[in-house]
């Protein structure tokens, strides 16, 4: 399957959104709202629930299931207050020593005058730094599109899972094609060049697991995903905090490619 076909699958309107996974995976849920600073961004949903007998915090980027919802959550592009809401819930999880599970599905952080006025760049930057030092396990699942900094803002995790057609990219292939070749129609070529698929991410060491998609049997798929999440959370919870944080730091520290002469 070509990278661009996977991207199209990841963007498909009928694809399950974060809310579907949250409802299928976590029991005894309480949804929590607001960043306590400015507002409540509908593009970020979060709360507390139970997974495999353990209380966890869940956070997801929500695209919306129908047009009305999509407009309310601006098509899954979080505002600065969304990232701050996510950070507030993560800090809360740290205080009460419960793991965090994030779901990523966005074409990118919200791009607009109001987002810039409220410090979109700072909001993402703070999440990157704070997540790196958060003293509790974090697992992120990319369920659809992993669009640039907006996706990274919830992806500084101990483990990254990706659905088989999910993608992660520094720039949209359309944006890349129009900058490099002045032609957005060459997006399929750009998608290949950028290496955005889940399998690419596994090869780069950006992702640990690729999860098969079985949307026709969503319940079954979520039962398997639950088992994978529980297994990894158990592994992570056995580590002491210093080891957990050092391994998380090193997980990102080694990423990149350069020549080095001695």
């Amino acid at each position: 399957m070509q990278a661009y076909d996977r991207l199209k699958a990841a963007r498909a309107q009928d694809r399950p959104t974060s809310r579907a996974y949250i409802e299928a995976l976590f029991h005894e849920r309480t949804e929590l709202h607001g960043d306590r600073r400015f507002g409540d961004d509908a593009a970020i949903i979060g709360g507390i629930g139970e997974l495999g007998g353990r209380t966890v915090t869940f956070i997801g980027i929500e695209r919306g299931r129908d047009l009305k919802e999509r407009i309310a959550c601006h098509f899954g592009s979080p505002m600065p207050e969304g990232y701050r809401k996510a950070l507030r819930l993560m800090k809360q999880a740290e205080k009460f020593k419960r793991p965090v599970v994030c779901f990523v599905d966005t074409s990118g952080a919200y791009c607009g005058e109001d987002a810039e006025e409220r410090g979109q760049g700072l909001a993402i930057a703070e999440n990157l730094m704070e997540m790196m030092g958060l003293a509790t396990p974090i697992i992120t699942v990319v369920i659809g599109e992993g669009g640039s900094g907006g996706a990274l803002g919830l992806s500084v995790a101990d483990r990254l899972f990706m659905l088989e057609n999910a993608v992660f990219s520094v720039i949209s292939p359309e944006g890349c094609a129009s900058i490099l070749w002045k032609d957005a129609k060459k997006a399929p070529d750009a998608a290949e060049c950028l290496h955005i698929t889940a399998y690419d991410m596994k090869q780069f060491g950006v992702a640990e697991q690729v999860i098969p998609e079985e949307f026709e049997n969503f319940h079954k798929m979520c039962v398997k995903m639950e088992a994978q999440l529980v297994e990894e959370i158990n592994v992570l919870c056995r580590k002491n905090t210093a080891q957990l944080l050092e391994e998380r730091y090193q997980r990102f520290r080694r990423l990149g490619d350069w020549n080095e002469s001695y």
């Binding site: 005058e113 760049g121 790196m132 640039s148 900058i179 060049c193 950028l194 990149g256 020549n259 080095e260």
Partner: protein
């Protein structure tokens, strides 16, 4: 005095080449006030237009000259160079062209030096190298600098200038944002001071990571600072944006900067802040 001008006539604002002093009569036309002044006079004014205060962009070497004490800078991590991990079309050729032109070694210059005698680690991004875009080398060098600063109990002064992540390195460039932010966090945890000086332009992934994570955020007048590009926002929202949108002045007004400091006062300001945070004063031959 109009300091908002960094936002206009972007094409005329090319980073000024370092090195030789210009010939006595060579003149530069200011893109803002249109004065035709002798380049040597502008250069003596730290590449700030003496008439209107317009700040020309500086490459990393020129920046070093206006900030660091003479002969105090010791460059670090010169053994790291760019690879082409994705074998991205045109990337290798672009790198070779840049290498022939000898514009800069890469998008960032790292090292240690003194500012009016106060010792600090420094990184200076170079807008003349692929618009200061952040790839693996930029990320790796800055991460190493913060780790070096932790080991040597040094503050970090960082000059940002970047068009954002370098798309030719794909996801690896995006991951540099997380990596460097992690290193900044470790330095901060260890009690280290990090002063960011945002210079024109600071955008995209650099704004959304280490540019915004300083303990103290300073910008030069008229600096463009933003996450999403102005044109992209106008295209997406169909709304005309105010002229000062994403300028340093705009960010100061909205509470996202500590101060705007003209280049002519920057060295004094940095030295004062370093002293007030306990930076070590050293004397060396160059002072």
């Amino acid at each position: 005095m109009n300091r908002m001008i960094g936002l206009f006539k972007r094409s005329e604002n090319k980073p000024e080449a370092g090195g030789m002093m210009p010939a006595a009569e060579e003149r530069l036309k200011c893109p803002v006030c249109k004065s035709r002044l002798r380049k040597i006079d502008i250069k003596h004014n730290k590449m700030v237009c003496p008439e209107c205060g317009y700040h020309y962009r500086l490459n990393a070497r020129s920046r070093l000259k206006v900030i660091c004490d003479k002969d105090s800078f010791q460059e670090l991590f010169t053994n790291i160079s760019t690879s082409d991990p994705l074998i991205f079309p045109g990337y290798r050729k672009k790198l070779e062209e840049l290498s022939e032109k000898k514009v800069a070694h890469e998008g960032v210059l790292c090292g240690t030096g003194t500012i009016n005698g106060y010792e600090t680690a420094l990184f200076i991004m170079d807008p003349s190298f692929m618009m200061g875009s952040m790839g693996s080398v930029v990320g790796e060098k800055i991460s190493r600098l913060f780790e070096y600063a932790i080991a040597h109990h040094l503050p970090v002064v960082g000059f940002t200038a970047s068009g954002g992540a370098r798309m030719q390195e794909g996801i690896l460039s995006l991951m540099q944002m997380a990596k460097v932010s992690g290193s900044v966090g470790k330095h901060s945890q260890a009690g280290g001071l990090y002063i960011t000086v945002l210079t024109d332009p600071t955008t995209g992934g650099v704004t959304a990571s280490y540019a915004m994570l300083g303990d103290i955020l300073i910008a030069e007048p008229g600096t463009l600072i933003g996450f999403a590009g102005k044109r992209v926002i106008e295209q997406t929202t169909g709304k005309k944006l105010p002229e000062d949108f994403q300028s340093a002045e705009f960010l100061l007004k909205h509470g996202f900067l500590d101060a705007i400091v003209p280049r002519t006062e920057l060295k004094e300001t940095l030295a004062r802040l370093l002293r007030q945070h306990g930076a070590k004063e050293v004397h060396h031959a160059g002072l």
